[in-house]
């Protein structure tokens, strides 16, 4: 079966502003794929080309084996899409709004809409304009999932959702993948992607710079370590520990970053008079540094 999403040399230029440049992406059927990158990196541009909202300047895209431009209607019938900013008609009830989108799709099973709304804790009886950002996001999510599409394309799906709803959303995504559908989502927050995705594409300044499995990504991401000792520690502790960056001693603290797993570092630190250890989850920037950061020569 052809991949869920396949792009070759996909490029979008907006005058002088940056779009995306020669993106080659392959998302397999049935996987949960995260497009990770900072705001303005080209995530939304990539997504909107797949939905035929934007037309590429060069290159091509194939979605579920179809051409977004030529096969638009038959393709979009099988895709659920959550835009970055779900623009809703303000003077309308949530139920009416969803009924309208359902009608534009030729009708969907209403019980499913109700079930999704209940699951995400969305009140169908409310007016759209009275909704918070998070509740509007829920309306967007319900319309994306309501027709049980083969492919979900979700642009920053969890922005505005509170942690409880975020977990329910994660469960929904896992179920969706389990029934064989593909989920393609974008994010600028690593833990969010980590919780959901099988594979991750990293996009930066319009270029897809890496595609990795979640494990591969974690193996390379930088972790920030802050170790507190009883007395000022000696940097020589870190000798022979691979992948250590930016090591420095400040008072009783030894701070550094380590690429990938922390086991060797922890063992080395334990040789000193270690009191406390904190390891911070890698941020998006730490992921990038994991791929690009120049390794410093070993301290000692």
């Amino acid at each position: 079966m052809e991949p869920a999403i396949l792009t070759r040399g996909l490029t979008k230029r907006y005058g002088k502003a940056r779009g995306i440049e020669s993106v080659d992406l392959e998302v397999r059927r049935g996987e949960v794929f995260g497009l990770l990158g900072p705001n303005g990196a080209g995530k939304t541009t990539t997504i909107r080309i797949l939905l035929d909202m934007l037309r590429p300047s060069a290159g091509e895209a194939s979605v579920l084996g179809l051409d977004p431009r030529r096969d638009g209607p038959s393709l979009r019938a099988r895709v659920g899409y959550l835009p970055g900013e779900p623009g809703l008609a303000e003077r309308m009830g949530v139920g009416d709004q969803l009924r309208y989108f359902a009608n534009l799709r030729g009708g969907v099973e209403w019980a499913r809409v109700e079930a999704l709304a209940q699951r995400l804790d969305l009140d169908l009886a409310r007016e759209v304009r009275a909704l918070s950002r998070g509740n509007k996001q829920k309306v967007g999510l319900v319309q994306a999932f309501m027709h049980e599409p083969d492919l979900l394309v979700l642009d920053e799906p969890t922005s505005g959702l509170d942690p409880l709803i975020q977990q329910r959303f994660n469960a929904l995504v896992r179920e969706t993948a389990k029934r064989g559908a593909t989920v393609f989502l974008s994010s600028h927050v690593l833990p969010e992607v980590e919780a959901l995705c099988d594979r991750v594409g990293i996009i930066r300044e319009g270029r897809l710079v890496a595609v990795e499995t979640m494990e591969g990504l974690k193996a390379r991401a930088l972790r920030r370590v802050d170790a507190r000792f009883a007395t000022p520690p000696d940097l020589a502790l870190l000798r022979d520990v691979p992948g250590v960056l930016e090591a420095r001693v400040e008072g009783n603290h030894l701070r550094c970053a380590v690429r990938g797993e922390t086991g060797a570092l922890v063992k080395a630190l334990a040789r000193g008079d270690l009191v406390d250890l904190r390891v911070r989850d890698p941020t998006l920037e730490d992921v990038f540094l994991g791929f690009y950061g120049e390794e410093e020569p070993h301290a000692a």
Binding site: G72, G87, L88, A89, G93, N103, G140
Partner: protein, 272 residues
């Protein structure tokens, strides 16, 4: 089914639903303004001799410019007081306001993204928007027509139904052409402000050109270029239906809808 289920069926009906407040507001405005002016007609008619004297003193150019033919017949009175300025302004404001909003306005608010994420084509969406605009104008036209019929019964305007219908039809078509221009400008660039500016400038320009060509002999050959001249060149309420004028207005409206549909299909959709 939630209430209003009918108006959630497709883009055309939903867009008509979105116009409901504007339609009610403009309808009330039409009824009040037309009713108010009609109420004065008996006074004007009963003082016919005096008004004709006053009118005789007006410079002919002024009378031509402002569509004053005779204030003492119902048709002449309505043409001078309503159809030569106030009603076109009202209908054009509505048409340009809605026409610019239906595509460009919704696009700027990010509301088209989810609509176009459905299996609907861009062409179908634009065409349904145009139909909704036409339907809205038709509603206003019917409200105007009905109001004038009632006014006729109340104060005896002595109107010809055919002429009145043709006059209202040409007003609706003039508005449809200007609204379609706003729709097309919005479909081309996705900017509501720009669409309003373009359509308003063209409509005002057409009005001025029509006026000048009535007053200045040398400008007469240019009159064909004014959209307004196909509306008010030979007012139907005074002289009977101007079929050619109606055809030109309808043709321009249809052509501009075609431009809107084609343009919207071709370009990138803007963001909110």
């Amino acid at each position: 089914m939630p209430r209003e289920g009918l108006f959630l069926r497709n883009v055309a009906l939903k867009s008509l639903r979105d116009q409901r407040r504007a339609l009610v507001g403009f309808s009330i405005g039409i009824v009040i303004y037309v009713g108010f002016l009609a109420a004065f007609f008996p006074t004007v008619r009963d003082q016919a001799a005096k008004f004709d004297q006053i009118l005789d003193a007006y410079p002919p150019a002024l009378k031509t410019a402002f569509g004053i033919d005779s204030l003492t017949t119902g048709a002449g009175y309505l043409h001078a007081e309503l159809f030569s300025a106030m009603l076109p302004i009202l209908f054009l404001v509505y048409a340009i306001g809605r026409g610019s909003d239906l595509i460009a306005g919704e696009e700027e608010r990010g509301q088209l993204e989810l609509v176009l994420a459905t299996p609907l084509t861009r062409r179908a969406a634009a065409l349904q928007k145009a139909l909704a605009l036409g339907a809205g104008l038709l509603v206003l036209g019917l409200v105007l027509f009905a109001t004038l019929l009632v006014a006729d019964l109340a104060v005896g305007l002595d109107l010809s139904l055919v002429r009145l219908a043709a006059e209202v039809a040409s007003l609706v078509l003039l508005a449809a052409a200007c609204g379609a221009l706003a729709l097309a400008a919005g479909a081309l660039r996705g900017r509501r402000g720009l669409a309003i500016a373009v359509a308003t400038a063209v409509a005002a320009g057409a009005y001025v050109l029509d006026l000048v060509s009535k007053l200045v002999e040398g400008a007469r050959p240019l009159r064909w270029a004014s959209l307004f001249s196909y509306y008010d060149g030979s007012p139907a309420i005074l002289h009977g239906p101007d079929w050619a004028g109606l055809a030109v207005l309808a043709g321009v409206a249809v052509a501009l809808v075609g431009v809107a549909v084609a343009a919207f299909d071709r370009r990138d959709l803007g963001r909110a």
